[in-house]
């Protein structure tokens, strides 16, 4: 036994070194794979051979190949990804909504300024056909600008809705795959596999990496949290949901209604992450801005129409409405209600072909408001600045969450990622260890050769 023991010991060393080399090359090959966790060979001493002189070591066993995963860092990275997903989406969408407004150069404020100028020019020469046409075209410019903001926001909402659906579909696909993994992983786990009498499988590292990557996606897009069980299966929960999204192999998918509400198992839920950001924009942020702009346009139209109705056109008839819209739809439906320039009521009813009093009164709306409220222009700029402030806050929040997410992600990749230098060292180490073990073999071999060929020759 004793003389062959070293051969066995050396063999175990060679085997361990081979596994080490395999693992190092696997690590190197996957250095750029998303969600890959660095793998490490676990070694243990073989149980010793007890001889009369003491216990003699019998070599090394490869007990497993494990992932260097830190679940605490995972938790941090996921919660920061969820926050960044929500705030980043909100900031991006709000910025786009603001860009559609076109302030300060191409927005409503510029077209409104053109309208006031047109009224003043009409007051300079109320009987001029050119001045009247100028007012109509300024009204057209204003209503066209409002409608293009309306349609821009509508298509932004459509985009966000499509994105919401697509992301939810991805989430549902991930949930289904996690249910599948919950079946595969426990079966492959050594503890459960052994206890159930199955064959030895080792850690299913690839499946575990896939599971963790899916959980990363779920937190970034949904803000869902997860709980790992000892057998490697995962339970995915969503705060406020009546049932777990994934529990064992049971899946509760997320359904999206036409009005962008989400529900799980028939009950409405609120979510975080990217989907939460999209939903918040569609249900809260954008409708709030639309309502404000609608209210502003409503006030603008009623102020203009009231003042216009106070005047008379050249034929002596009171002024009709200048602008019109379907109630509640000012932003998409605002249109010029007056088509004949001769119906513009520039006069105040006291007669005279060149009576300009009502044109003056319309032009005076530039700086004042008849009801003592702030002027139309300052109400518009209040709205614009309100939106700008929200965008700025959202962008600031998104930036700070981005930094937190970057920090958490790098902390995690510091622990989980592949360091090529480290792997090179490991390669050299395993190579040397293989060489040394091989040398042990040749040494034992030579010793045996001496024993076999050189000893006992005396009796020949």
């Amino acid at each position: 036994m004793a003389s062959f023991l070293s051969l066995q010991t050396a063999l175990s060393g060679i085997r361990a070194a081979q596994v080490g080399l395999d693992t190092a090359s696997h690590n190197i090959a996957n250095a750029g794979t998303v969600g890959y966790t660095r793998q490490r060979v676990l070694l243990a001493q073989r149980s010793p051979f007890t001889s009369v002189v003491g216990q003699i070591g019998t070599g090394v066993d490869v007990t497993g190949i494990e992932r260097t995963r830190d679940t605490f860092l995972d938790g941090r990275a996921r919660s920061s990804a969820a926050e960044f997903g929500r705030t980043g989406t909100k900031a991006e969408l709000l910025s786009r909504a603001e860009a559609i407004l076109g302030e300060p150069d191409q927005g409503l404020s510029a077209t409104l300024g053109t309208l006031w100028d047109a009224f003043e020019d009409l007051a300079l020469d109320p009987s001029s056909a050119a001045g009247r046409r100028q007012v109509l075209s300024a009204l057209g410019g204003l209503s066209g600008r409002a409608r293009s903001i309306g349609s821009g926001w509508a298509s932004l909402a459509d985009d966000a809705g499509v994105d919401l659906r697509a992301t939810t579909d991805e989430v549902n696909a991930s949930l289904a795959r996690l249910g599948e993994l919950n079946r595969l992983i426990p079966r492959a786990q050594p503890s459960t596999a052994q206890s159930s009498g199955g064959q030895f499988g080792g850690q299913p590292n690839q499946l575990l990496d896939e599971r963790d990557r899916l959980l990363d996606e779920l937190s970034a897009s949904l803000g869902a949290s997860s709980r790992l069980a000892a057998d490697g299966s995962v339970t995915v929960t969503l705060a406020g949901a009546p049932a777990d999204l994934v529990a064992g192999q049971t899946i509760n998918t997320i359904t999206v209604t036409a009005d962008h509400r989400l529900s799980v198992a028939g009950q409405e839920v609120s979510v975080g992450g990217r989907v939460g950001g999209l939903q918040g924009f569609l249900l809260t942020d954008l409708p709030a801005q639309r309502a404000q702009l609608d209210a502003f346009l409503g006030e603008l139209v009623s102020t203009l129409n009231t003042q216009h109705a106070a005047g008379t056109d050249p034929a002596g008839a009171a002024g009709g409405p200048l602008l019109a819209f379907t109630p509640g739809l000012a932003i998409t439906d605002l249109r010029v209600a007056i088509t004949d320039p001769d119906l513009l009521a520039a006069g105040d009813g006291s007669g005279g072909d060149h009576n300009d009093r009502n044109a003056q009164a319309l032009a005076a709306l530039r700086g004042t408001s008849p009801d003592g409220q702030p002027s139309i222009g300052s109400r518009l700029s209040q709205f614009v600045i309100g939106l700008a402030g929200e965008v700025r806050t959202a962008v600031g929040q998104a930036d700070s969450h981005r930094l937190l997410n970057v920090a958490a992600t790098s902390a995690r990749s510091s622990a989980h990622g592949v360091s090529l230098d480290e792997e090179m060292v490991a390669l050299v180490q395993w190579q040397r260890s293989l060489e040394a073990a091989a040398r042990v073999m040749t040494t034992v071999d030579e010793a045996l050769q001496v024993l076999i060929n050189r000893t006992g020759i005396v009796g020949r």
């Binding site: 603001e98 100028d117 300079l124 020469d125 009987s127 222009g377 510091s414 090179m424």
Partner: protein, 295 residues
């Protein structure tokens, strides 16, 4: 801390893109010359900028209104000056008519008075850019009728021009005010009728009556002239003030909206250097690994 390749690459890219973003920002600052491109770049500044822009537009419009007002006032004043000249001539003729004259001389004077009257009617009905000067808001002639039945056919409309934020200046006078026309009285035109008829008929008091009437008419026109002159001064000073305000607004708007070019250029330079340095650092840090040195 363990540094892994993934971490190194992702962090380097992160830094590089942050640098590039700042570089781009600095570059577009210089290219556009604007500090505020969307209101969210600086909500407080954008709020001021919007107010200032509206104010700038209003002041520019006031300046155009003032130009128009000065045109009206100038034309009206020169028409009134002609009227005073004509009335002065009528007064001179009346003085001559007050002394004893032959019938043919009186007839010549009466004829000239009548032609002065026609000229004054023409002045009263003159228009500027297709619009009667002295008829208020009315579109037709200011004075109509004929001998014995002169009447004012305009209205009392006061044409005003906004030359300041809340300053409306009246720029017109009506023929009724200038020539003393009332619904019951033909004013200066009736006086000229009476003078011409009296002088032609050899009425001894006609000349002296006409002198008094012409003095009164000249006083009335001069009153209107004085009012136009005062309003012209008002418009001119308002325009001057408006231009100063406009200048101040432009300066302030530029302070709020525009980038300080020297500062922006410096910033661009700094960002460019920083970006290049990041690239260089990346180029140095990324390639070497143990692989290079193991042979």
């Amino acid at each position: 801390m363990r540094v892994t390749s993934e971490m190194m690459i992702s962090q380097s890219l992160q830094r590089l893109s942050t640098r590039l973003l700042r570089y781009e920002r600095a570059q577009s600052d210089v290219a556009t010359g604007k500090r505020i491109r969307t209101p969210s770049d600086d909500p407080a500044g954008a709020s001021r900028a919007l107010t200032l822009r509206a104010s700038q537009r209003a002041r520019e419009q006031e300046s155009r209104n003032a130009d128009d007002a000065l045109g009206w006032l100038g034309i009206s004043a020169s028409q009134l000056q002609s009227a005073v000249d004509r009335l002065q001539r009528a007064r001179d003729l009346s003085v001559r008519a007050a002394s004893t004259l032959s019938a043919s001389e009186r007839s010549a004077i009466a004829q000239e008075l009548e032609s002065i009257q026609t000229e004054l009617v023409g002045l009263a009905n003159s228009s500027y850019r297709g619009r009667p000067l002295f008829a208020g808001f009315a579109g037709g002639p200011a004075v109509s009728g004929g001998p014995g039945a002169w009447s004012y056919s305009g209205d009392t409309g006061e044409i005003t021009r906004r030359v300041g934020e809340r300053e409306g200046v009246r720029i017109n006078v009506t023929a009724a005010e200038v020539f003393g026309l009332t619904p019951t009285d033909g004013g200066v035109f009736a006086r000229l009728d009476e003078a011409a008829a009296g002088i032609r008929a050899g009425d001894t008091t006609a000349g002296t009556d006409a002198i008094a009437a012409m003095d009164e008419a000249i006083r009335l026109v001069s009153d209107s002239q004085a009012r136009l002159g005062a309003n012209t001064n008002w418009v001119e000073s308002a325009q001057l003030r408006g231009q100063e305000v406009l200048q101040a607004i432009r300066v302030e708007l530029s302070e709020v909206e525009d980038v300080d070019l020297a500062e922006a250029m410096m910033d661009l330079q700094t960002q460019q250097v920083a970006y290049e340095a990041t690239l260089r650092a990346l180029a140095r840090a990324l390639p070497p690994s143990l692989v290079t040195f193991l042979s």
